[in-house]
Each structure stands twice: as C-alpha cells, then as structure tokens.
C-alpha cells in the first residue's frame, strides 16, 4: 500500500539521498585531479614544462652561445664555468644541450601536429565511411607502415635534398629572404617530412579504430534513434569519447618523434652540425667517449629523460581520462 502509491514521490526523495554524497561533478576536473594524484605523471609534466621553457627561452639565457668556439678549452670535463663541460671544438655542452631542446621541441611538435592532421583526417574518413574507402586507406597505411622507418627517411632525405637545395637557391634568388640561405632549414624540413611520413599511419589507424568502436556503441545507436544528425553525433559523441587514446597517442608520439629524430641525426641524415640536436651530439660524442664521456652522457641522459617523461605522462593521461576508472 505504502509502496505502491508512494513509488514516484518516494523514489524522488530517495534518489536525492542516494546521490547526496557526490558533490557537483565535472568530467575534466575529475580527470585533472586524478592526473595530479599520479606522482610520476606530475614529475613528468614538470619536466616537460621545463623543456618547453628551455626551448622557448633557453638560448637567450644560457651563459654561452651554442656556436661559439673556444679552441683553448676543448673537451673540458664539467666545471663551474662549463656545467656540462666543452666539446671537441670548445663549445659549451650545456648551451648546446639547451639548444637541442629547442630543436627537439620544434621537430616533435611540428611532426606530431602534421601527422595528427593527416592521420585524423584520413582515419576519420576511413572509420566513418567504411567499405571500400576504408579498405583503400588502410591499404595505404599498411604499405607505408611496412617500409622500415629509417630506410624511408634515408631515401626521402637523399632523394629530396638536391631538388630542395635548388629550390631554396631559386627562392633566395627571387626573394632575397635570408632564411632560404640557411641550409639547415632544408635539413629540418626534410627530416620532418620523413618523420611525418613514418608517423601518420599510426594515428590514422588509431582514429579509425576509435571511430569504428564508438560508432557501434549503444549510445550512438540511441542518438541515431533520437534523430540526432550525423554531424552532431560526430562532434558530441564520437570525438569526446575518443579523446582519451588520442591524447595519449599524442604524448607518446612526441616522445617517439624526439627519439626518432635523434636516431636520424645520429645517423647523419637529420639535423646536421653545427646546429645542435641531441642526436648529433651523441654521434659526435661517440668518438670521444673514452676520454670525455661527458660529451656522450649529457645529451643521452637528457634525451632518455624526456622520452621517459612523455611516456609516463601518456600513461598518466590514459588513467586520468579512462572512463573505465569511473565507478561502474
């Protein structure tokens, strides 16, 4: 008797009681809180912020210019004047490492940015269109992914350098803009092209996978049943729910791009000296490792630290954003 008549009103008051414990809730705030609680992720985040800071302002605040040579003070071990010692040309290793941060950051963010753009576009089309379009795009990604990254980079680099060089010369001739004079931009662009070529299929597949998964989720079906237009489904349903893995992939990609760039520079097909990148510093340092190990250690250490930092941040973001963590 009491139960029947009071079903509606009683559920109202009881529902209120049932949820009294949880305060007003915000998705992103909760994710942020979870991220902050993860000590490893916080440390990584701090390191990355330091990196960005150094990339932006570093070369202006280092004690020495990264190019200036002091031939009297070659291969000096770390001292108070040179915190990380000097290299074989007397350049201050610390300043060069800091400049290397700029190189690494430019490359990493540009490469990941462009790869994401290409990958997300193609991946979204593939995921939503399905059928032959999807198959074709996947076929392309498979082909690209099956070529070894380094081989791809070397081929791209070697074959594109001469025409690039010529084009740069013509541009300078036409416009007289200094930038075209500097050979190292060619290096940079070629390197980034190669890296983008290598990286975009991963993102395409990731996005496609996410879209296909979410497309089949019950809540998307429910939205269709409500008559929500396709565009809105993409914006309100698919994208917000696929953000998690995408953000993680971005942070992992940044670390990966840095590492790959270093590998290429190490091999000589990336950024060429005298412009410092951690990779080419390691390469140069190899020759002197027996007598002056600091030339090798510092750039390697910093590279390793940043890669790990990105990795941990990625993990932390994954945990923070993962809906499975939520009470269910």
């Amino acid at each position: 008797m009491t139960d029947e008549t009071a079903t509606t009103t009683n559920s109202v008051s009881l529902d209120a009681e049932g949820l009294a414990s949880s305060k007003k809730y915000n998705l992103w705030r909760d994710a942020f809180a979870r991220l902050m609680a993860n000590k490893l992720a916080v440390v990584s985040l701090v390191l990355i912020i330091v990196l960005l800071f150094l990339a932006l302002f570093g070369p202006y605040i280092t004690p020495y210019d990264f190019l200036s040579q002091d031939l009297d003070a070659r291969n000096q071990p770390p001292s108070w004047q040179h915190w990380m010692g000097t290299d074989n040309l007397g350049r201050d290793v610390f300043s060069r490492v800091v400049y290397g941060a700029r190189t690494a950051t430019i490359i990493a963010f540009t490469v990941v940015g462009i790869s994401m753009l290409i990958g997300v576009t193609l991946g979204s089309i593939a995921g939503y269109a399905g059928g032959k379009v999807d198959e074709f795009i996947m076929w392309i990604t498979t082909v690209v992914m099956s070529v070894p990254a380094i081989l791809l980079a070397v081929v791209a680099s070697v074959s594109l350098r001469p025409p690039m060089g010529r084009w740069m010369e013509n541009m300078y001739f036409l416009t007289k803009i200094q930038i075209f004079r500097q050979a190292y931009w060619v290096d940079l662009v070629l390197l980034m092209t190669a890296l983008v070529l290598v990286l975009w299929p991963t993102y395409a597949r990731l996005i496609r996978g996410q879209i296909m998964t979410i497309r089949n989720q019950n809540y998307v079906l429910a939205a269709r049943a409500l008559g929500v237009p396709t565009r809105s489904i993409l914006i309100r349903y698919v994208i917000p729910n696929s953000l998690g893995p995408v953000i993680v992939a971005i942070s992992a990609g940044l670390g990966s791009a840095m590492l790959t760039e270093s590998a290429f520079s190490f091999l000589g097909i990336g950024v060429r000296p005298p412009i410092p990148s951690w990779g080419n510093m390691i390469n140069e340092g190899l020759d002197y490792w027996r007598d002056s190990p600091h030339l090798l250690i510092y750039p390697a250490l910093v590279l390793g630290m940043m890669t790990v930092a990105f990795s941990f941040l990625g993990d932390g973001l994954n945990d923070a954003l993962n809906p499975r963590q939520w009470r269910d």
Binding site: E4, T7, T8, T9, S11, V12, S13, D15, A16, G18, L19, S22, K24, Y25, L27, G131, E135, Q217, N218, Y219, L221, A222, A223, R224, A225, L226, G227, V228, P229, S232, R236, Y237, P240, N241, P323, W326, R327, D328
Partner: protein, 360 residues
C-alpha cells in the same frame, strides 16, 4: 520527397503495420571483406500494432526480436518488407525524411549503462531531442527537462550530473525521460528491465504502465521474461529463429497456446509456488537453438519439435489466423481445438538422466 502510402488503407486504430519484414546480415571475413555467410536474423514477420496497446514480443536468444525492434525503427534498413506508420511506408523514406518522424518512434534499450553518452550530462542528453527537433524554444528547455525528470521519478536537480553517478534503475529512467522528450506515439522497449535487479524491475514496469496510461503510448515490448510480458502486454507474439510462430491476445496465448514451441516455452517458465513446481511435468525440449546462419529447412522448429513430421521437414508452415485474433504457423495445428498439450506430453523425448547416472 515521395512518401508511399499503404495500399490497403489500415483501420484508424492501427499505428504500426509490419509486412513480411526480412533482415539478413552478411558475415564479412577476409582481407577484401567478402560475404562468407548470412545471418538470417528476420525471415519475414508480419503483424499490426494498434494505438494504445502493448504488443509483447517474446523469444529466446537468436530469435531476432531485438533485430525486429530495431529494423522496424529503421535503425537497420530491412533487406525487404515494409513498415507502415500511420499509413506512411518508413522503408521508402531516406534518412533525412525519416528524421522528423523519429520523434514519434522511440526506443528504450536493454543496457542502461551503455546507452547514455558518458561525456554528456543527463540534462544535455534529455534536451538533445528538444534541441534537434526544435520541440521547445531554447529558454524553455531547462524547464522541460526538469518536468521530464519529475515525470519519471527523478529529482530535477540531477540534470547536471553524469550518467555514471546513477544506478541502473535510475539510468533507465533517464533513458525513458529522453524518449519521452520526443513526445512519441510509439516506443520500442527492447528488454528494458533485463539488466536490472528484481526490486527495481517492478518500479520500471509500473512506470512504463503509468506513462502509457497518461500519454496514450503504444509499446512494442520485447523481452524473454514471459511473466513480465504477461503482466504488461495486451497481445503477445512468439518468435523463433527469425520467424513468428504464434500471436494472440494475452489471455488466449497463455491459457490456450497452440504452437508446440509456445507450449514448451510456457512450460519451462517456473512459478514461485513450491508445491506445484515439484509436481510439475515440464515439456523439455532437447537440443539447442540452431544458429540463424544455418537455419533448418522447412519449419525452423522441426529438429526440436516432438510433433515433427515429413511435411515439417520439407515445407515452411504458413501464418494462419486459426481463430479471430489468434495466429499460428504450424502444420500440425489446423484448428483451435487441436489438443497439442496431450500429444506433446506423450511424445516428448526427454533425456532420462537417472538411467545414465545409475551406471555412474
């Protein structure tokens, strides 16, 4: 924009008319996504649903009842067949033309946990149809959402919360509120209570019935729980492996089932009455439900049917109106007076475990 009207004009009270609805799903495997097999989920079902009534659709897993619900709403496009809503043929409409009609044809799914977008507040979720179908001007939407939440028995203050903060029963109420926001005529309830606890199920059933009374809703209630279907439906249809085997008014179906499968189904349902249950002789079917990819020939039920004959193996039975309002698809049922019950009781092949155990 052409809207095809039904040829034989239905009576005013028929809201939904389904004619020979077929839905096959291709199974694509291989690098080039070739179709290797076909899941014959629906193999030609036909029925009417009248305004204001609840048609219960029962069957076991693989019978195609969920597919039926979704295909009727054109969430899957039928392979063939027609679905008429108030005379309009939905199968002929393009998605764009269909969209405005979707407000009238709503659905409540089984799993309240996955049918709400985890990244949207429930207030936003409920106001979506209001927004996209321009049902309510922007400044009035909040009010309407609050109203809807109250109707389903939830505190309107919860509109700013996210789905995971609610229990299963509450989430189902939210889904119901969302369906109601569209001001529908017809709601497909696809196993709306199966995922809920028993004590909550009763709340939702009562809520659905109250809403039907208050708003004059028509339901297609899909479930596997026969007791619930009996409680809430006016008429009941039984499906097996993509086809309809029997349909009748509630009382008729449960008191005088004619199809052997219906008999077995009803016989298998336990009742909370210990003395009766202990003495009860069940009609236990042997074997498992065959796969819809490879359905049996002729009558799909014949491998498990104690009454099966040569004809059943060769020919598919027709969907006959044995008596007014009572439809059956069975070769052996030729008139409403056929006493299937006793024939079944005599002929069923039940596994005698006791014998096997004696050897053990």
């Amino acid at each position: 924009m052409s809207i095809v009207k039904g040829s034989n004009s239905p009576t005013d009270s028929t809201l939904i008319r389904v004619e020979s609805l077929v839905k096959h799903f291709p199974v694509r495997i291989g690098a080039f996504a070739e179709t290797k097999a076909t899941v014959q989920a629906l193999n030609g079902i036909s029925f009417d649903i009248k305004k204001g009534e609840t048609l219960g659709l029962v069957g076991e897993s693989g019978c195609g009842k969920s597919t039926a619900g979704q295909t009727i709403l054109q969430l899957h496009r039928p392979t063939s067949g027609r679905v008429y809503y108030q005379g309009t043929d939905l199968t002929q409409l393009k998605e764009k033309q269909l969209r405005p009609l979707r407000t009238k044809l709503q659905v409540i799914f089984q799993d309240p946990y996955s049918t709400l977008n985890p990244r949207m507040t429930i207030g936003t979720a409920i106001s979506e149809p209001l927004q996209f179908h321009n049902l309510v001007p922007k400044n009035k939407r909040g009010e309407r959402v609050a109203e809807l939440l109250k109707i389903v028995g939830l505190n309107p203050a919860f509109a700013t919360r996210y789905p995971h903060e609610f229990s299963g029963g509450q989430r189902q109420r939210i889904c119901i509120a969302r369906a109601l926001a569209c001001e529908p005529d017809f709601i497909v309830c696809d196993e709306p209570i199966s995922a809920l606890d028993v004590s909550i199920q009763a709340q939702i059933i009562n809520l659905l019935q109250d809403l039907q009374e208050e708003f004059g809703l028509t339901y297609l209630f899909i479930a596997h729980d026969l007791a619930v279907v009996r409680h809430i439906s006016h008429r009941v249809a039984v499906m097996y492996l993509g086809e309809m085997v029997e349909m009748a008014g509630k009382e008729t179906l449960f008191e005088k089932p004619l199809h052997p499968y219906t008999q077995a189904l009803l016989s298998a349902v336990p009742e909370p009455n210990p003395r009766e249950e202990r003495g009860r002789q069940r009609i236990v079917l042997t074997g498992d439900v065959p796969s819809p990819i490879n359905p049996p020939s002729g009558c799909r039920f014949h491998p498990r049917c104690p009454l099966a004959t040569e004809t059943c193996f060769k020919m598919e039975p027709t969907w006959n109106e044995i008596e007014p309002g009572h439809w059956v698809a069975c070769h052996e049922v030729t008139s409403p007076d056929v006493d299937v019950q006793s024939v079944l009781a005599n002929r069923q092949h039940r596994i005698d475990y006791k014998e096997k155990l004696k050897a053990w």
